[in-house]
């Protein structure tokens, strides 16, 4: 095998996730030409993939996209507050990690919806041991808002 093979392709979920992050950057770092350029480039890539996949829209898909966007945004916000609200450092950090678990759970689902799920790309969906986790708010959310 040649050393310069590049077969590990970016999947649609990764593009959609990256798009969400850059849209947050666009809002937070105002007027950045480089960010806008990257957003346009990601949009082109997403469009190219979608033109081959023809994914139907439904409420379930929309709600997963909202979860990805919201959890990314909230985690971004909480990480900013780690610096400014040091007395709440561990509270904010745990909250961010919990949101990340939710994000991972719906990321795995979206990869399945996009027909690109692979066990090697599966994201971690636990933060504590099972006994503790079953009582956590994010597990309740994931178990009950689970269509």
């Amino acid at each position: 095998m040649k050393g310069n093979d590049d077969n590990y392709e970016v999947n649609l979920f990764d593009l959609v996730d990256r798009y969400s992050i850059f849209k947050i950057k666009e809002i937070r770092f105002k007027d950045s030409e480089a960010i806008t350029k990257e957003i346009v480039a990601i949009e082109d890539k997403i469009s190219a993939v979608l033109s081959k996949k023809e994914i139907m829209i439904n409420g379930d898909l929309i709600s997963k996209l909202i979860v990805i966007a919201l959890t990314n945004f909230e985690v971004w916000d909480l990480k900013e507050r780690l610096d400014t609200e040091s007395e709440l450092y561990f509270e904010h950090l745990e909250h961010a990690l919990e949101l990340n678990i939710i994000r991972n759970h719906y990321s795995n689902k979206l990869m399945k919806d996009f027909n690109e799920f692979d066990i090697s790309r599966e994201k971690v969906t636990s933060l504590h041991n099972k006994t503790i986790e079953e009582k956590k708010w994010y597990k309740t959310f994931m178990n009950s808002f689970n269509r």
């Binding site: 806008t36 439904n58 409420g59 709600s63 996209l65 708010w137």
Partner: protein, 140 residues
């Protein structure tokens, strides 16, 4: 569709705000979850007739609506909890609400009834909104 049903754009907005409440308060109580599931069912009913496929513009409108709602929530929090910048935060929140309304019109036109006349949305003048020179605005 009668006047006693929500349009798709309104359902989407409520779905975002309901999720936002759960994530902020870490409180997925039965009422919130029931509401989320009912909203998703209603969205399905609106979309099923249309056979719409996912496009990058749809993702863009959804993401931007999420971020506008989140920013408005943060500004309202700051209005309550921070002294000294009430008017500034209030104005920005008002301007972002106009952007939110514009996005909702576009979502309805793209995914919903496509008849956006008569939508109960009056304010979409963003005045001199600064710091939101986002790419999405070119599509609206």
């Amino acid at each position: 569709m009668g006047c006693n049903t929500y349009k798709l754009n309104e359902l989407l907005d409520r779905l975002i705000i309901n999720q936002l409440k759960i994530f902020k308060k870490k409180d997925p109580n039965d009422s919130h979850i029931r509401s989320l599931n009912n909203i998703v069912n209603s969205i399905d009913k609106r979309i099923n007739d249309r056979s719409s496929i996912l496009t990058v513009d749809v993702i863009d409108y959804i993401y931007t609506l999420v971020y506008v709602n989140s920013e408005i929530w943060n500004l309202r929090d700051q209005m309550i909890n921070e002294n000294g910048q009430f008017n500034e935060h209030m104005k920005k929140s008002h301007q972002l609400n106009a952007l939110r309304n514009l996005l909702k019109i576009n979502i309805e036109a793209t995914l919903g009834s496509r008849n956006v006349k008569g939508l109960d949305i009056s304010n979409y003048d963003m005045e001199d909104l600064k710091g939101w020179n986002i790419n999405t605005l070119n599509k609206l």
